[in-house]
């Protein structure tokens, strides 16, 4: 109502000015007396009032929309009712909506094409790596070969990371929640990184009860644990000698602590480590940091319903904790 009056303010003002001028002129010329002035005033204003009222009810829906705003796309299609103004506004909105949708579809298609390309590309890159690995087998145990092997391991890990990242969006279709034995999955993750442990002279230490089981997706959880182990090793290079992985059972919760004795994370960086593309001070110091690892970890864990936290002290080390609901 307020908005309606605002829109018609100038209209009403013009009406009163012209009414006033007409009555003043007629009065000066002596055409009409005081009684007629009041009569004209009341009668004309009544007509104006009826007109405005009629107009308001006709466009009520539109004005309601103006005041409440559009909260969903469907709202914009409701504006149409019998008045011409409403119809025109509605037509405009629909047109805008169509344009918007077609733009969205274009972007969506581009994004999907890109995703398909990345997926194909990563898979194709695995064949040349397999070839190199086979050829390298001839020279295993020799120093050069070990160095090349290390670089190839980096390539493989990088490719895996991008594959998991590309799959994050279709996560709903790509996970199976099952009972997972915590010790088994950790042991496997450690063993798959064995070369990295050896190369950096870090010894893994496991302290996990044999019978702890949790509900999770094996593949995704393993990916996350491997990321964290990788970080732990990377940032304790030339510093720590152990990577402790321990479980703490607390009533219905299970905490998994992955603790390194590395360089630690600066306080100012700590709360941003899960941000995408954030590399911080350590990333600059050590290089080869993409700012994707921990971001992916948290995204995946949140989807799986687990909680990840990081504690760290400069020069003492970092502890990453994943919290699960225990399953008995």
């Amino acid at each position: 109502m307020k908005l309606f009056l605002k829109h018609h303010k100038s209209y009403i003002i013009i009406y009163f000015i012209s009414l006033f001028l007409t009555v003043l002129y007629s009065n000066l010329k002596g055409f009409i007396g005081v009684g007629e002035i009041i009569y004209i005033f009341i009668f004309n204003t009544f007509i104006l009032f009826c007109f405005l009222l009629y107009r308001y009810y006709k466009n009520k829906q539109l004005y309601d929309l103006f005041t409440s705003g559009i909260s969903s796309i469907d709202d914009s299609l409701d504006a149409a009712n019998e008045s011409e103004l409403s119809k025109d506004v509605s037509k405009l909105l629909i047109r805008q909506y169509d344009l918007y949708i077609s733009n969205m579809e274009k972007c969506d298609k581009k994004y999907k094409d890109h995703l398909t390309f990345i997926n194909q590309w990563v898979h194709q890159m695995k064949t040349p790596i397999a070839v190199m690995k086979l050829q390298l087998k001839e020279f295993e145990g020799e120093e050069r070969a070990a160095e090349m092997q290390e670089e190839m391991d980096k390539l493989i890990r990088g490719l895996d990371k991008s594959l998991y990242y590309a799959r994050l969006d279709s996560f709903q279709k790509d996970f199976i929640i099952k009972k997972v034995n915590l010790k088994e999955i950790i042991r496997e993750s450690v063993n798959e990184n064995k070369r990295l442990f050896i190369k950096n002279r870090i010894t893994p230490r496991l302290d996990i009860d044999n019978d702890i089981t949790i509900l999770s997706d094996y593949k995704w959880l393993k990916f996350v644990v491997q990321q964290i182990i990788e970080n732990g090793i990377k940032y304790s290079r030339n510093k720590g000698t152990m990577l402790f992985i321990e479980s703490v059972k607390d009533k219905d919760k299970v905490k998994l602590n992955i603790k390194d004795g590395g360089i630690g994370i600066a306080k100012k960086d700590l709360r941003r480590v899960f941000d995408q593309f954030f590399t911080g001070e350590n990333g600059r110091k050590y290089g080869e940091s993409t700012g994707m690892g921990l971001y992916l970890c948290r995204e995946v864990l949140t989807k799986l319903g687990h909680v990840i936290t990081v504690e760290s002290e400069i020069d003492k080390g970092t502890t990453v904790t994943i919290e699960f609901i225990a399953h008995d």
């Binding site: 898979h123 194709q124 695995k126 064949t127 790596i129 397999a130 070839v131 690995k133 086979l134 050829q135 087998k137 295993e140 145990g141 020799e142 120093e143 070990a146 493989i156 895996d160 594959l163 799959r167 790509d174 199976i176 042991r187 450690v190 063993n191 064995k194 070369r195 442990f197 050896i198 190369k199 002279r201 010894t203 893994p204 230490r205 496991l206 593949k219």
Partner: protein, 230 residues
């Protein structure tokens, strides 16, 4: 008996490398050139085991596996870069017996081939001729964990055996510490670096008791090498 293995993989390089390695274990191999006639080749060659890629020109591996299944119960091992659970399920549902993800470890491929042959043909014959690692009279039998030199012989532990095997195999090259460490790594109880040094000195002592003095030399900062003093 000499088992026949058919490799269906469109990457030439992988094919020839696979062939090379598999043939070291006295299998015969055939790889496919014409991917429209996989079934014909299968019929002509009558392989005992099939290694099958999923991404192939024309039809994919699932298709060929189904076709092969209509003719034969031969073990089919898929080798593919696709890691998703769905692909593995598809492979096994279409009649595959096993699934290996690229980039693979050649030892795993060989082990799986052997295991499927044992399963399908109930035959341990492919292991009949025993592995021997040898250098000028110093012999190591991995299956028995036995070392022999000048009619003396003794049994050693598995870790010592692994170290000795690679040192002999690689002679005269130096074998890096990291590599030996990786080979004695225990998947259940992870070993400390010190374990390697302990085992190296044990092997030294074993060689001593066989009459070989200073049998292993340490190359500082790199690794170890057999020192042929005999």
């Amino acid at each position: 008996m000499n088992y026949k293995i058919m490799i269906v993989e469109d990457d030439k390089e992988i094919c020839s490398l696979l062939k090379e390695y598999i043939e070291k274990y006295e299998f015969t191999t055939l790889y496919i050139d014409d991917f429209e006639k996989v079934l014909e080749s299968f019929n002509d060659y009558k392989p005992d085991i099939v290694l099958l890629d999923i991404n192939l020109p024309k039809y994919d591996g699932f298709y060929w596996c189904k076709k092969i299944r209509q003719l034969s119960k031969v073990p089919v091992i898929f080798i593919s870069a696709r890691v998703s659970g769905m692909d593995q399920v598809m492979a096994l549902e279409n009649g595959g017996d096993d699934y290996i993800v690229k980039p693979f470890d050649i030892d795993v491929v060989i082990a799986k081939i052997k295991s499927h042959i044992r399963r399908a043909y109930g035959d341990y014959a492919s292991n009949k001729h025993e592995d021997i690692v040898e250098i000028d009279g110093l012999k190591y039998y991995p299956d028995r964990l036995e070392v022999a030199f000048n009619d003396k012989n003794l049994i050693i532990t598995k870790r010592e055996g692994v170290i000795l095997k690679y040192l002999i195999k690689k002679y005269p090259k130096v074998v890096s510490r990291d590599f030996l460490f990786e080979k004695i790594w225990d998947d259940a109880d992870f070993v400390e670096e010190n374990t390697l040094s302990v085992n190296i000195s044990r092997v030294r002592k074993r060689l001593q008791s066989l009459g070989i003095e200073e049998g292993i030399e340490t190359i500082r900062g790199t690794g170890y090498r057999i020192n042929k003093t005999w």
